[in-house]
Amino acid sequence: MTARRHSDARSLVIRVWALLAGATLVVGWLAEGRHVEPRVALTVALAVAAFKARLVLLHYMELRHAPLGWRLAFEAWALAAAGGILAAYWAAA
């Protein structure tokens, strides 16, 4: 790997981390701060969770470079998990 590719790879890890951490803090703030209804906070939180899961899957677990079957299976899982939890939440609300 070239030196440039390596520093690219490193900065990618750090950028992804910053996104993940930032998203986490935003969700925490929303949920704790009572700025919005709990229902809205939860919906945002689950959408964010799916987004975070995707970041981890594609960039940390490197599914972006993996055989498509594996990538699709895991992305589907992330979507189904977040979506399923959300659907059940709204069904019960």
């Binding site: 390596h6 803090l25 969700v27 925490g28 689950l46 969770a49 899982w77 998990a81």
Partner: protein
């Protein structure tokens, strides 16, 4: 198509491959599916008694949940950096990043112990109600995965110290990192599931 033996996974015609050993991915996939089932069970339980679950969830600390998430994310990032360093054959960096990943990761254990003991002292146990049953079981099983992950990371650290940073080692560290990221991934879902459905 290049066929790598036990060390490493098959590379497809388009150059796509899974990081580490393909077999570990079977494990990761199975575990992820198992947790998916747990999410389903919890959600179904919640639909049966939404007010019980809602009221019980209020007793969890969002702050602690956020802290747990940040700890695992950071540990994961450090692990990703360690893998990247391994690809450059930089033993020193690998060791340092791994030490960081383990050190940060262990904070998760500290917060968990703190969280559990607080709950138990307040009278919320596994048998209190269905919500707390799921809370303890899901986070407990997740914690077991975490402990196994720490053990894997410790073994990898020892290898980074003693073995050559070669292709063989890279398969190990990629596999271990993939498992560790799974631990992170599962928590990303557990956090809103348990802490934020209020």
């Amino acid at each position: 198509m290049t066929e790598l033996t036990w060390a490493g996974s098959r590379v497809t015609d388009s150059g796509r491959r899974l990081p580490g050993d393909a077999g570990v991915w079977v494990f990761i996939f199975a575990d992820t599916m198992a947790f998916g089932l747990f999410f389903l069970l919890f959600s179904r339980g919640r639909m049966g008694s939404p007010s019980l679950y809602r009221d019980s969830a209020q007793h969890l600390s969002v702050g602690l949940g956020v802290l747990n998430t940040l700890i695992l994310l950071t540990s994961g990032a450090l692990m990703a950096l360690a893998v990247e360093a391994a690809r450059r054959n930089e033993r020193r960096l690998v060791q340092r990043f791994m030490a960081g990943a383990i050190g940060v990761g262990l904070c998760f254990a500290v917060t968990k112990v703190f969280e559990y003991s607080g709950k138990i002292k307040a009278g919320f146990t596994l048998l209190t109600n269905d919500f707390f049953m799921y809370y303890y079981v899901l986070t407990g099983v997740h914690f077991l995965h975490f402990v196994i992950g720490i053990v894997v990371l410790l073994i990898l650290s020892a290898k980074a110290r003693n073995d050559a940073i070669d292709a063989h080692f890279r398969v190990w560290i990629e596999s271990g990192a993939s498992y560790w990221h799974m631990v992170d991934l599962l928590w990303i879902m557990l956090f809103p599931l348990l802490y934020l459905q209020r």
